[in-house]
């Protein structure tokens, strides 16, 4: 059974749809990439799933039932979204940012344990735990964003261009962490990325978006086997992770 | 957005607004001046119903109650009074616009009881150009009485502030010839109009003013000013304040254990609004002046004029508290206005001015012995006032009416 199923989903801003008739499925514990050039509708897709945008048409089914409307209710069901631009909460310290991530969690001891795990995963966060989060560098903020999402113990993790604006070395670090999380096998990941190569280093299969429509799909091997697809629709080769 | 479309829209809306601005012109009867007919006299007023001076809006309640009462008795020689009032938010520029509207749109016969010194100065040119009676202003600025060349159509309603100041100075001289005087005044035309003649009168009486402190009505408290005045070592304290700050001043002086002889302007001489909130103990012996009967004084409850006032207010402005002296003032000035209208020899604006400028009358709501007296060379309708002292829970009138000459 699929964890998340989108059927004929359209969504966008005001009365202009950006996504049109998008259908896709993500199974539990799998990592699926959404590839596409700038403006293909990747971010709109994630924002619609997490409730920041309301779909104009179509169905989003999560664990077999429809998602509620408010983003915080969706988050409470185990959907964690690391937004474009990392979504660092200014004015809060690093640790407070992480604790906001655990807002839906009830068990105190578990939150403390998860916090310790975050610090273990990214020791730099431990070092800066009492600093204002905005003092972190871009890469550190991406690690913070990922950790904040993981603090929610999500079932489905939505990642919006985790490589954006980062130096190759940092990208490598971030992706290593993402791959490790996937390998732990507790959650499914929907990964949006411009660079196919980078995304496919973590994902096992991918959908390709163009002008808001799904124009292709396939496993890592299938995509590799059809270089035309990535050239035609993705344009960039991107980083090597 | 597209400049062109927006311009068309802006133009369209602006022209609609212009079209709305065109009002119908009121028809004029066989009378020479607008606003008067066999059955009606239209008066116009402007009060601060909103904004920082909105407490003065209460004056209108009293005036309205008396006009309504007169109308319910059949009006003046069969003419009912229609009193049109507009809100000026205590802004002189709004008074200008209101007066233009009252004269040009509403076609009033005369203007009545507009408050504020700057506010009335702002329209003085206009009323002069258009020859509109501008009567019984709710201000005591002596400039209107002195400079008749500039203000021939204007007449103040209450005793000149300078009259009160002169009375204060004379009283201080009499009680404490060697007094060291401290003054608190509101830093606007109201306070300045009281302070300046007081300074002149004090000089005239050889009084020593040791400290003068202004306060801005927009600020929350006068505590620090009172503290400063108390440290000046003054033994007489003159308070040219509006009620809220008058009450603060009295209480702060008591807290500091500063016990000067206190003189309080009649504007704030209200037992209910000032002295009771400030604390009765701290208020004993405060001196003020009076020209109106005090509706909150139990002793005057049986006075027929006060009874009529209380009943009229209850009937025509049901929610208004009759204890507010500003309402009593509005009522009294409406009585003066009605006298002036009754005394018109011709139903014209000039006729009204002649009547107003040659009056010698008693007005029921004024204290006995205070007459309204004017002549073509005398534009101070109320020249006399009483000194009064706060004792127990009420004001007690002291002696006979005084007529100090304003400095």
């Amino acid at each position: 059974m699929s964890l998340l199923r989108l059927e004929q989903l359209s969504s966008g801003y005001r009365n202009a749809d950006i996504l049109r008739n998008v259908s896709m499925e993500i199974g539990a514990h799998e990592c699926v990439a959404v590839l596409g050039a700038n403006g293909a509708g990747k971010t709109t897709l994630l924002r619609t799933i997490s409730g920041l945008l309301r779909p104009s048409r179509g169905v989003i089914e999560y664990r077999g039932s429809r998602l509620p409307e408010a983003p915080h209710r969706i988050a409470a069901l185990g959907v964690a979204h690391v937004p474009e631009g990392r979504g660092t909460i200014a004015g809060l310290t690093v640790e407070e940012n992480l604790r906001v991530g655990a807002y839906t969690q009830r068990s105190r001891t578990q939150v403390e344990a998860d916090l310790a795990q975050c610090y273990e995963r990214f020791p730099i966060l431990d070092e800066y735990r009492h600093r204002p989060a905005t003092y972190l560098s871009g890469g550190e903020q991406q690690m913070l964003a990922l950790s904040r999402a993981l603090m929610a113990r999500p079932t489905l993790l939505l990642l919006d261009e985790p490589s954006f604006g980062l130096a190759p070395k940092i990208v490598h670090l971030v992706y290593e962490a993402i791959r490790r999380v996937i390998a732990e096998g507790h959650l499914a990941v929907l990964l949006v990325e411009q660079s196919a190569e980078l995304a496919m280093s973590a994902a096992s299969r991918a959908y390709v978006l163009k002008h808001g429509e799904v124009v292709g799909a396939g496993s890592r091997e299938e995509l590799r086997g059809s270089p035309g697809l990535s050239d035609a629709y993705l344009g960039t080769t991107g980083y090597h992770a | 957005m597209n400049w062109r479309i927006s311009n068309i829209l802006a133009g369209a809306i602006a022209s609609v607004a212009l079209a709305l601005a065109h009002g119908p012109a009121a028809a004029q009867g066989s009378y020479k001046d607008p606003g008067i007919s066999d059955t009606q006299i239209k008066l116009g007023g402007s009060y601060p119903f909103s904004g920082p001076g909105s407490a003065y809006g209460a004056v209108h309640d009293g005036a309205k109650a008396y006009f309504d009462l007169v109308n319910s008795r059949g009006g003046i020689n069969g003419r009912k009074i229609e009193f049109t009032v507009l809100d000026d938010a205590y802004q002189p520029s709004k008074v200008v616009a209101n007066v233009r509207q009252l004269v040009e749109q509403d076609k009033v016969f005369a203007l009545f009881n507009i408050g504020g010194t700057a506010h009335n100065l702002a329209v003085a040119d206009y009323v002069l150009r258009n020859k509109i009676p501008h009567l019984y202003l709710n201000t005591g600025a002596i400039v209107f009485a002195k400079d008749r060349q500039k203000f021939p159509w204007t007449l103040i309603g209450i005793p000149a502030y300078a009259t009160e100041s002169a009375a204060f100075a004379a009283y201080i001289k009499q009680e404490r010839p060697n007094a060291k005087v401290a003054v608190l005044y509101q830093n606007d035309p109201f306070g300045q109009d009281l302070l300046q003649p007081f300074e002149r009168a004090a000089k005239h009486e050889n009084l020593r003013i040791v400290a003068i402190e202004p306060y801005n009505a927009s600020e929350p408290s006068v505590d620090s000013q009172i503290s400063k005045l108390a440290r000046s070592g003054a033994d007489v304290f003159v308070s040219f304040t509006i009620p809220k700050f008058a009450a603060q001043a009295i209480r702060k002086a008591a807290e500091l254990n500063w016990k000067p002889m206190q003189l309080l302007t009649s504007v704030s001489a209200s037992a209910d609004l000032v002295l009771k909130p400030a604390g009765l103990a701290a208020s004993q012996g405060i001196i003020s002046t009076a020209f109106l009967k005090d509706p909150s004084d139990p002793a005057s409850a049986n006075d027929p004029a006060v009874k009529e006032y209380t009943a009229a207010l209850k009937q025509f402005v049901p929610n208004a508290n009759p204890a507010d002296p500003l309402r009593a003032r509005g009522y009294a000035l409406a009585q003066v206005m009605v006298k002036a209208l009754e005394g018109m020899k011709a139903p014209t604006r000039e006729g009204l001015m002649q009547s107003a400028m040659s009056m010698d009358a008693e007005v029921p709501m004024l204290l006995p012995g205070i007459r309204i007296q004017t002549s073509p060379t005398d534009a101070l309708p109320m020249k006399a006032l009483y000194m009064e002292r706060f004792e127990g829970e009420r004001w007690v009138i002291m002696g006979k009416p005084l007529s100090p000459s304003p400095q």
């Binding site: 009365n15 | 957005m1 597209n2 400049w3 062109r4 479309i5 927006s6 311009n7 068309i8 829209l9 802006a10 133009g11 809306i13 602006a14 022209s15 607004a17 212009l18 601005a21 065109h22 009002g23 119903f49 909103s50 904004g51 920082p52 809006g57 009032v85 507009l86 809100d87 205590y90 802004q91 002189p92 520029s93 200008v96 616009a97 233009r100 509207q101 004269v103 040009e104 749109q105 504020g116 010194t117 700057a118 506010h119 100065l121 702002a122 003085a124 040119d125 206009y126 600025a141 400039v143 830093n187 606007d188 035309p189 109201f190 306070g191 300045q192 109009d193 202004p214 801005n216 927009s218």
Partner: protein
């Protein structure tokens, strides 16, 4: 559309609009002439504020102060120095733009609420300073400007003459500000509003743009204040409470922040809606006016022009064709 036509069209429309407004001078009584002249004064000031707030994106609560300084400057130049009023207005604009330049300096360091409160300080200062400096300002009793003298060959009443001046100056302010907003300078201003760092990257001198915007807005604010003083014929401190700055900001937002022509509507709103509100119930004028502000912002957050344009484009789409891209 071709290159030349829109410009010509603009001028034509502006001229037609101005002519239409000017023709009112013939038919209106002095009360309405005065009302509209004051609205024109507000319009000039709101146009100026729009340059700082709408175009450059800096919060200013000082426009009421510039308006007040302009009113006093014009009054003093007329009464104490006997300058003819066009000269007085121009001098007023120069004086206030210098003050505006200085007042804009904090904007180099401060932003958002901090800038708002510091600029509010200037508006708070007006009343006590005018009272203190009474030898110049007339203090609480105010200054009487008297009526303007109309050159006899013109054949208009003083109110009509001022009305014509007010409307033409307001039209000029709208045209000039619109052109500035579209000029390279205006583009630099918008760049500062949208992203200061990116603007710097584009080679914009942010410091000059910000202080220049304040100076320009103060120029318009001062001239607006001058027109106000001439129309009312009287200046006194109570006319320039700190709330005036807030009122002008209401004019900017109601007309549509960043929309220069919208300033006309903002000025009409600020001038006439309180009167309509007071006509409903004089004791509840503020309640109705406040409610009108809330409702306008709720339903037309970008101003009535943008709302109408959106309506127009929606209607256009519905009636003509549903584009499929």
């Amino acid at each position: 559309m071709m290159n030349v036509r829109p410009d010509a069209l603009r001028w034509l429309l502006t001229a037609a609009l101005t002519a239409m407004a000017l023709s009112g001078a013939a038919g209106l009584g002095s009360f309405y002439l005065g009302q509209i002249t004051v609205a024109a004064a507000y319009c000039i000031a709101i146009v100026g504020l729009n340059i700082v707030v709408g175009v450059t994106g800096q919060v200013s609560l000082a426009q009421g102060a510039f308006f007040a300084i302009g009113a006093y400057a014009t009054a003093i130049l007329r009464v104490r120095y006997g300058l003819s009023f066009p000269v007085a207005l121009l001098a007023t604009g120069v004086v206030t733009s210098l003050i505006g330049f200085v007042a804009g300096l904090p904007a180099l360091r401060l932003r958002g609420h901090y800038l708002a409160i510091v600029t509010l300080g200037l508006s708070v200062a007006v009343v006590p300073v005018a009272n203190r400096w009474s030898s110049l300002t007339g203090g609480g009793a105010g200054l009487n400007l008297g009526q303007v003298r109309v050159p006899p060959w013109i054949g208009l009443s003083p109110e009509q003459y001022l009305y014509v001046w007010g409307v033409m100056l307001a039209a000029a302010a709208v045209v000039i500000a619109s052109r500035v907003a579209r000029s390279p300078l205006g583009i630099a201003m918008s760049a500062v509003r949208d992203n200061e760092i990116a603007a710097m990257g584009m080679g914009v001198d942010v410091r000059w743009v910000k202080t220049g915007a304040f100076a320009a807005s103060a120029f318009f604010g001062g001239v607006g204040g001058g027109v106000f003083a001439l129309s009312v014929g009287f200046v006194a401190p109570e006319n320039f409470l700190p709330t005036l700055s807030l009122l002008l900001l209401v004019g900017v937002v109601i007309g549509g922040s960043g929309s220069v022509p919208g300033s006309i509507l903002g000025a009409l709103f600020v001038q006439f809606v309180p009167d309509y509100a007071a006509a409903l119930d004089k004791h509840l004028a503020g309640v109705f006016f406040g409610a009108a502000i809330i409702v306008f912002i709720r339903f037309m957050p970008e101003g009535p022009l943008a709302a109408l344009a959106a309506l127009y484009s929606t209607g256009h789409r519905l009636f003509f064709k549903r584009r499929s891209t």
